[in-house]
Every structure is written in C-alpha cells, then in structure tokens.
Amino acid sequence: MADKPAAGCARPTGGPVGEDPVESQNQEPTPILREGHNMIKVGKPAPDFVAPAYHKGEFTEEKLSDHLGKWVVLCFYPGDFTFV
C-alpha cells in the first residue's frame, strides 16, 4: 500500500496523477485566463494523486488509487494547529 520515502531534509511533495501536463513546452507568455476547472462531479472518478504523509509514526507516500476496493473519506482542512 504505502511506500516509505527517505525522510530527508528536502520538503517532499506530490500531486495529481494521470492528469495532462499543465505546463506547456513553449516559452510564450501563459494566458491569464485559465481554463474552466473540471469541477468534481458525483458519480465520476475521483482524480488520482500521490502525496507524502505521516501515518502512525512513519513517513509514507499515499496514492489514492492504492485504496481501490475500500471506501475512502478524503478530508481537506485549512491547516495544522488551527482551531476547528
């Protein structure tokens, strides 16, 4: 399930998996107007992602699609050590 990356000093990060690359190869200025977001829709697949995590004393790497076969509740929140 979850891999264990080395806990170095760099700040590891993850991101969406299987999305089209957002950055274009050419050097032309990127248009300010951004494409309308594909909002999440119920009944449609949840976008896959990988992310570094802390889980029961270990640093791990979590991939959403590794949890296929189980129900997942994914909760976003504003920040650690905030109040609510």
């Binding site: 889980h55 640093f59 296929l68 509740v73 994914l74 976003f76 504003p78």
Partner: protein, 134 residues
C-alpha cells in the same frame, strides 16, 4: 485520510503534541501533505488567495467514484456522524445493487425504499415527513 498544505513534518508535530492528547494512540489514518495545493486545486477546494485548502470532504467508493462531497469555509467544522451516515447509506445502496434507496433522514435501522413501478405515487403511504429528521 486527511490533507492540508502543511508538510508531513508539521503533521507529525501536530499529531504528537496535540491530537494524540485528544485521540488515544494518535490519528489512525494517514495525514497527507499537499504543499502548494496542487491536489486541492484539482478537487476544486484550494483557496488561492489564502493559500490553504477549504474544508472539502469527499466520499469515494471502492471503484474510485466520488459518491458525495461537502465543502465548508474554514470557521465551521464538519459533522462526523453525518459523514458516517452517508457512507453507510452509500454502502447499503451498493450492497443491494440499487434495489434499495435511502429516503431523507435515513440512518441504519430505519426503513429503506424499494424503487419500482408499485412505489410511484405511493411514497406518502410508507414515508412521513417526521422521518426526515432524528
């Protein structure tokens, strides 16, 4: 699983120094880091102005399909019982392959509806508005 823009190092400190004092043994699920909000962006809940994720909560079924979500601004917390109730309702629907549906206010133990030709126009006979709330 939970996710915020904090690093996994800060997650560890928060778990070890505060949350483990509220929850015996600490947080049992993975605390994910979304530095830069890239995942939150894709899920439509990243607040670019504040640089943080808003309170988005997604229920994802065993096939990876989003069955429900809720998004709140930061000052108001979620209701965990309501999330669990929804998961239980989605599980029931899945187990019955859609033969049963859960009416408003359903919770485990309460009656379900069996959608079909015989029920059309007859819901009033089996379901009353007081069943919509606890």
């Amino acid at each position: 699983m939970s996710m915020s823009v904090d690093s996994m190092f800060v997650h560890k400190m928060w778990n070890d120094h505060e949350l483990s004092k509220m929850v015996d043994g600490g947080i049992p699920y993975p605390m994910l880091s979304d530095a830069g909000g890239k995942v939150g962006e894709v899920y439509g809940i990243y607040d670019e102005d504040a640089g943080v994720e808003t309170r988005g909560r997604f229920i994802i079924d065993p096939d990876g399909i989003v069955q429900g979500y809720e998004v709140l601004t930061p000052p108001v917390g979620r209701n965990v019982s309501e999330t669990l109730r929804q998961v239980q309702a989605f599980q029931l629907v899945r187990e019955t392959k859609g033969a049963e549906a859960t009416p408003s206010g359903w919770k485990p133990g309460k009656m379900t509806l069996k959608p079909g030709p015989d029920l059309v126009g007859k819901v009033w006979e089996v379901w009353t508005t007081d069943m919509a709330s606890d």
